[in-house]
């Protein structure tokens, strides 16, 4: 009896079930196939420098996609993350270039400014869409414009530059060839994975995505959880802004155009259902890596920009078809 208890407790969440493991393995296999393909056809793909490059390049998308996973899990969507990231970057850029602060204070101020800006935008998205039960698609489309306009207004459409040297060093720092900013993203993935699988909060988020009414009837405030999901998404947009600034040493008000679509693509390729309730942040990590590997590998192979765009599109469509069959299999 004791052994049974142990084995059951290990598998007792849907995210840890054998099925999920297999399915993540499926994405992993697809990734492996891509890696083998590019390794065979280009000499530079599997080199330490290139791997470092890929990790750097997927960091922003991964950070945004982690937040997006929360929103999509509760059956929502956030189209505003790219603009919110730009807005947060501009606000933080203004903060970090304020005169009269030492580098450490300026950086701390920028981090607070960026995350707070993201959080506030997320709260707005969540409160408006959850309180009036409006489609988050439209509300966040509104926020996409609000945040972009705000970014341009605050920055007067000028690129902000000249950040403290320490900030720039953080952006390009490596530990054994792994970019520190990527480790930050990985930490976010881990925290998100823990929250989603081992906390009441995560459990309820999955429940809301599956059957909002049942969760409400069980006495939980669906409103608060939804607002929380959007807030987390806004927060990660703020973190993405910090990564952007540290990596490029500028804040551009036109940064992040179309980033929301890449983040959504990473989440969907990672096997999270667009209708909510099913998926995992580990899948999102793999999805972001697949997108990054494709973008990198296809350039190394020498494919034209237009072909590259087409192939990325095909992969997204393919992932959604796969999701359809996964849902069907899960229903049996």
């Amino acid at each position: 009896m004791t052994t049974q208890t142990l084995s059951e407790s290990g598998r007792s969440t849907p995210q840890l079930s054998l099925r999920t493991v297999l399915h993540n393995a499926g994405i992993g296999l697809a990734l492996l196939a891509l890696i083998v393909f590019f390794s065979v056809f280009t000499e530079h793909f599997l080199t330490p420098n290139n791997i470092t490059n890929i990790l750097t390049q997927i960091t922003i998308n991964l950070v945004l996609a982690v937040g997006m996973t929360f929103v999509i899990l509760v059956g929502g969507i956030d189209l505003s993350v790219g603009s919110v990231m730009a807005f947060a970057a501009v606000v933080a850029g203004k903060a970090i270039t304020l005169p009269g602060f030492g580098p450490a204070e300026a950086i701390a101020l920028a981090v607070v400014a960026a995350t707070m800006t993201g959080v506030l935008c997320g709260v707005f998205n969540g409160v408006i869409s959850a309180y009036w039960a409006l489609p988050s698609f439209i509300i966040t489309l509104g926020m996409l414009n609000i945040a972009r306009g705000a970014a341009l207004q605050v920055s007067d459409a000028q690129t902000i530059y000249s950040f403290p040297l320490a900030f720039e060093e953080f952006g390009s720092a490596m530990i054994y060839g792994v970019p520190v900013v990527f480790l930050v993203a990985l930490l976010l993935v881990f925290v998100a994975w823990f929250i989603l699988n081992f906390t009441v909060f995560g459990r309820i988020l999955y429940g809301i995505g599956n059957n909002e009414e049942a969760v409400r009837l069980a006495g939980h405030s669906v409103f608060r959880y939804k607002v929380a999901a959007f807030t987390i998404c806004g927060f990660t947009a703020g973190i993405a802004a910090i990564v952007y600034m540290a990596r490029l040493n500028i804040s551009s008000p036109i940064a992040g155009i179309g980033f929301e679509l890449n983040a959504i693509a990473a989440v969907i390729i990672g096997g999270t259902s667009l209708s909510g309730g099913r998926g995992s942040v580990i899948g999102t990590l793999l999805g972001a890596v697949i997108i990054g590997v494709l973008a990198n590998g296809l350039i190394l192979i020498g494919l034209s920009d237009f072909m590259r765009q087409m192939i990325t599109g095909v992969v997204i469509v393919f992932a959604v078809i796969l999701d359809h069959y996964r849902a069907k299999y899960a229903a049996k």
Binding site: P14, N211, A214, V215, L217, G219, G277, R278
Partner: protein, 522 residues
């Protein structure tokens, strides 16, 4: 017991079988859904398929209607092999199904729905509305409906009429076999009667009707033969004339069911009032008068009434799901107002809702997670889930409710209807509620599980829990309740005590004929 083998005792008035199924098997992965199904259909008969949920009826219907292929065995239609590759092909062979969940397009008109498979066109290829409406009127007339505007959208119809539209649509094309999958589950008594008249008429036209139902009284009313399923196998086909409801139930459960729970309702000495409604009017109540009654600890109060009488709305109003317009709610003598389910739960209420898929369960989630959904504090510390505690809670609740399941980590969707309903009950029972509201607690639940659920509810009452039960099944209310409140048009028409329980009395009150009922009008 009488007729041993399928088709062994053909009715003299009928011709020989035109459809025969022999040794049919169907697997989903490693799970056997059908494990040897054999029976036959004769022209112009009404053939019942009965069995507990998960016994294989639905799978058989899906195979006959072309939704799935089968793995082995034979189906012969008019002597040649029948293995439809699609619902369309099944329809071409004259096999039509009216599903439990309707396949109607809510925003299209009734006429459009009836002809959706083959919309009439004018010579220009445009939709021929005149012809469309003419066909719809004709189709509805054929089943005795002539008081409906066929141009109205489907969404304007009640559930019973929707079903009749489904039947009219199925009969539109030339049908030989009409399969009705639990057609009466959502119908009131009067609507059921009308359906039966239609079935008689269809039968008279030479169409074979396959009737799937959990209600044996209905099976014995209108069917000629009955085939019993158990665990994916057909157990026997009997002539209705030569068997009895007890005999069928025995075949279904494979053991002799303890005689209907008819244990004596000892006259419980009146305990304290758990819940008092004083002129409570919910938002759905168009009248200016509300409902007033007391619910005591240790008693089961039934609420009867026709669909639309406002029964569910009262429960939803009490539980804080719908806004209350006026009136007061007292809990243990204290006036109280629940602004949402959270408050009601905090006040030791529980609510087993009617629609377990829509409101009761998170189907894709494990049994354990569903069981703890309303009781998160007990299985978590500082917001972190304690999986061993959660699994223990689920196992204990499962044992208490005789839940049949594999692992507590299996998704609820893997359970049969009856066991799913037990999980809904478990979700509330782990909180030890003092007041339990139940809406159609055994809908879509098979006979065996039904009896078990009744026993559980009665046990709760003995432990002092106050239960308020809404049900459309009068036998259920009469079995469970200490008293029955009959609702019509959002008002309590009368209250029946146990000695006055009868379907006739309930119906008289439900149709607003209080004087004939012998109950005291309030």
């Amino acid at each position: 017991m009488a007729a041993a083998a399928p088709g062994a005792a053909p009715l003299p008035t009928h011709g020989s079988a035109f459809l025969s199924v022999d040794g049919l098997k169907k697997y989903f992965g490693g799970v056997k859904a059908l494990d040897g199904v054999s029976f036959s259909l004769e022209q112009g008969e009404v053939h019942a398929l009965v069995g507990e949920n998960g016994a294989g009826k639905s799978t058989l219907i899906k195979i006959l209607s072309g939704a799935f292929p089968y793995d082995s065995g034979d189906i012969l239609l008019d002597g040649s092999v029948y293995n439809p590759a699609s619902p369309h092909e099944a329809k071409q062979h004259g096999v039509q199904v009216v599903h439990q969940e309707f396949n109607l397009l809510d925003h299209l008109s009734i006429a459009e729905n009836i002809s959706i498979e083959k919309l009439p066109r004018t010579r220009l290829g445009l939709l021929d509305r005149k012809e469309l409406n003419r066909r719809a009127v004709k189709a509805l007339k054929a089943i005795g409906l002539d008081d409906i505007d066929v141009r109205a959208p489907i969404s304007s119809l009640g559930i019973a009429h929707k079903q009749l539209v489904e039947i009219a649509r199925a009969l539109q094309s030339k049908s030989r076999i009409l399969i009705l999958d639990e057609p009466t589950a959502t119908l009131t008594k009067r609507e059921t009667e009308r359906l039966f008249e239609i079935v008689e008429a269809i039968k008279a036209d030479g169409v074979t009707v396959v009737f799937v139902s959990h209600h044996l009284d209905e099976v014995f009313r209108i069917c000629d033969r009955v085939t019993v399923f158990r665990n994916g196998k057909t157990i026997a086909t009997d002539l209705i004339a030569q068997t009895s409801p007890e005999g069928v139930v025995q075949r279904m459960v494979g053991r002799r069911l303890e005689a209907e729970i008819k244990e004596e309702h000892q006259d419980v000495h009146q305990q304290d009032v758990a819940l008092r409604l004083d002129d409570l009017r919910t938002a759905a109540n168009p009248k200016d008068r509300g409902v007033t009654f007391d619910l005591h600890y240790g008693e089961i109060v039934g609420i009867a009434g026709l669909v639309g009488a406002g029964r569910t709305e009262i429960l939803r109003g009490i539980f804080g799901m719908d806004p209350v317009q006026s009136g007061r709610i007292f809990r243990d003598g204290q006036e109280i107002r629940f602004s949402g389910p959270r408050d009601a739960i905090a006040s030791s209420l529980g609510f087993v809702t009617e629609d377990r898929k829509g409101e009761g369960l998170v189907l894709d989630m494990p049994i354990a997670a569903n069981t703890s959904m309303a009781n998160m504090d007990a299985v978590s510390k500082l917001g972190l889930l304690q999986f061993p505690a959660e699994n223990r809670q689920a196992r204990e609740a499962g044992a208490r409710l005789k839940l049949k399941y594999g692992k507590t980590s299996d998704p609820v969707s893997s359970l049969s209807g009856g066991n799913q309903q037990k999980v809904v009950l478990a979700k509330w029972l782990v909180r030890n509620p003092r007041v339990l509201l139940l809406d159609e607690p055994t809908r879509g639940v098979d006979v065996g599980a039904k009896a078990e659920i009744y026993a559980i509810l009665k046990g709760l009452a003995r432990e002092g829990v106050a239960l308020l039960v809404v049900s459309s099944e009068m036998p259920e209310l009469m079995t469970l309740s200490d008293r029955i409140l009959v609702l019509a048009d959002h008002e309590i028409q009368g209250e029946l005590k146990r000695p006055d329980f009868s379907e006739e009395n309930i119906l008289n009150l439900a149709y607003g004929r209080a004087n004939a009922a012998g109950g005291q009008a309030q």
